[in-house]
């Protein structure tokens, strides 16, 4: 067994055939007047185009002798995009990218370096880039969830926070319960999927490896490595963004900032 048994041209043909299913779904949704056909088509074209660009880009990197350089350029770019996307969750906060980007970079970067040093990631772009994508993507989601929850909790509990400040608590002491709550709640989806790993669904990395012809046992081992990476990077990102956000929520005089 050695991966999906067809080449690029045949792949394109199969893709065309499978698109008929998509057209059928589109017609059905239009007949039922679900109102999702336009959004669905747009999302598919956008997602498909992004994947096509990524596929071409990855192919060029994989065959280039300069792949370490391209990889070193690509990873910060991915972290930047992650930081920008996550920052859009808190439009009221001044310069949120200044906290989301470093949080995502620290979370995903530290676990990637650790996996690289331990040899869990072989030194090849085929391994580094997809795994970095997973680490950065998950760190971004967890970072967004943490930040969104923390700001909402600060707004909902404004009186309680100000009461504790008025009693002499530091900003760290007054926000701590909500910080903990935000970090925990942001990690719930990841922990739930970790608990049900292999029971409810076979996760992406393992599916990919099995499709590519890797033994299911090695694929499972790799999937666990991937989950360590996702959970580890997510926790680091979540704690970092919560800690950095705290400084944005309060002034130096332990007052809640006006934008909150």
């Amino acid at each position: 067994m050695s991966g999906i048994p067809y080449d690029e041209a045949e792949g394109l043909f199969r893709l065309g055939l499978v698109s008929l299913l998509f057209l059928l779904v589109l017609v059905l949704s239009r007949r039922r007047r679900l109102g999702i056909d336009r959004d669905f088509a747009f999302a598919l074209v956008k997602g498909g185009s992004q994947l096509a660009v990524v596929a071409v880009l990855l192919t060029l990197i994989f065959v280039s002798d300069l792949w370490p350089l391209w990889t070193l350029l690509l990873l910060p770019f991915m972290m930047f995009i992650g930081g920008w996307t996550s920052a859009r969750r808190t439009p009221d906060m001044p310069n949120p990218m200044m906290i989301t980007t470093p949080s995502i970079a620290l979370g995903s970067g530290s676990v990637l370096v650790f996996l690289f040093i331990t040899g869990a990631i072989p030194p090849a772009p085929q391994f580094i880039i997809p795994l970095a994508g997973m680490a950065i993507g998950n760190a971004m989601i967890i970072c967004s969830l943490t930040l969104d929850r923390l700001v909402r909790e600060a707004r909902l509990n404004r009186t309680r926070i100000e009461t504790s400040l008025a009693l002499g608590a530091s900003s760290t002491q007054s926000i701590e319960p909500y910080e903990t709550l935000s970090i925990r709640s942001a990690l719930i989806p990841t922990l739930d999927s970790l608990r049900t790993l292999g029971i409810i669904f076979i996760p992406g990395a393992m599916t990919g490896l099995v499709l590519a012809g890797t033994s299911p046992i090695v694929a499972a081992q790799y999937q666990i490595i991937v989950y360590f990476m996702i959970v580890g990077g997510g926790i680091i990102s979540s704690m970092t963004v919560a800690s950095l956000a705290r400084r944005r929520l309060f002034t130096h005089a332990c007052q809640i900032e006006a934008w909150v």
């Binding site: 509990n157 009186t159 309680r160 100000e162 009461t163 504790s164 400040l165 008025a166 009693l167 002499g168 608590a169 530091s170 002491q173 319960p177 005089a253 332990c254 007052q255 809640i256 006006a258």
Partner: protein, 230 residues
Amino acid sequence: MSVLEFENVHKSLGGHPILNGVDLKLQKGEVIAIVGPSGSGKSTVLRCANRLHDPDEGAIKFDGANVDGLDARQLRSQVGMVFQDSAMFPGTVRENISFGLTVRGVDDPRVVAKAVAKAAKVAAVSRRHLDRSASKLSGGEKQRVAIARALAIGPEVLLLDEPTSEIDPKRLRHIEDALVSMAREGKTSFLWVTHSADQARRVGDRIANLVDGRITQIAQPDEFDWGVAY
């Protein structure tokens, strides 16, 4: 000697002017009752006094020192505040009352127990209620715990933002008398925001009328002209 002094204090919030030149001097051991219509800036006056807000213009002095130059946490250990909304922290009544001591690192159980008992007595919080969950208290009980919580830190000035609106009359009079006694002993001075003219007369050494962010009248209760108040 004034313990707290406002000099031409201006403050805007969200682009709207709230305080428009407040001048006020609170003497040591004095109770000033602040009255005025809703939205006149009464709460903002109190919030500026313990630096939950900083004024845009003017100065606030505590014991002669501009509060801008003081560490906010240090200031708040001497200028306490009770909010209109008595938000309770998770935990027991005892943990709530000792909160201000705990966050300052006071961990001697005897010191904490003594401060809690003393504050609870003034605020009419029964000893048998100390181990109850604070979140299950009624509105009036929460207000009493909030007063005890602010008293436990031993503030030199206590800012009270309508702190007794839900307290029953018997306990209300006990609390008013106990707080006024503290002022008479010169231990604590009070800025007491109230909507009740009767309460202002009972507790205030002077009554200040705040309208549109300005003190329009300040006088002793028997000289205060209620006809032009509000």
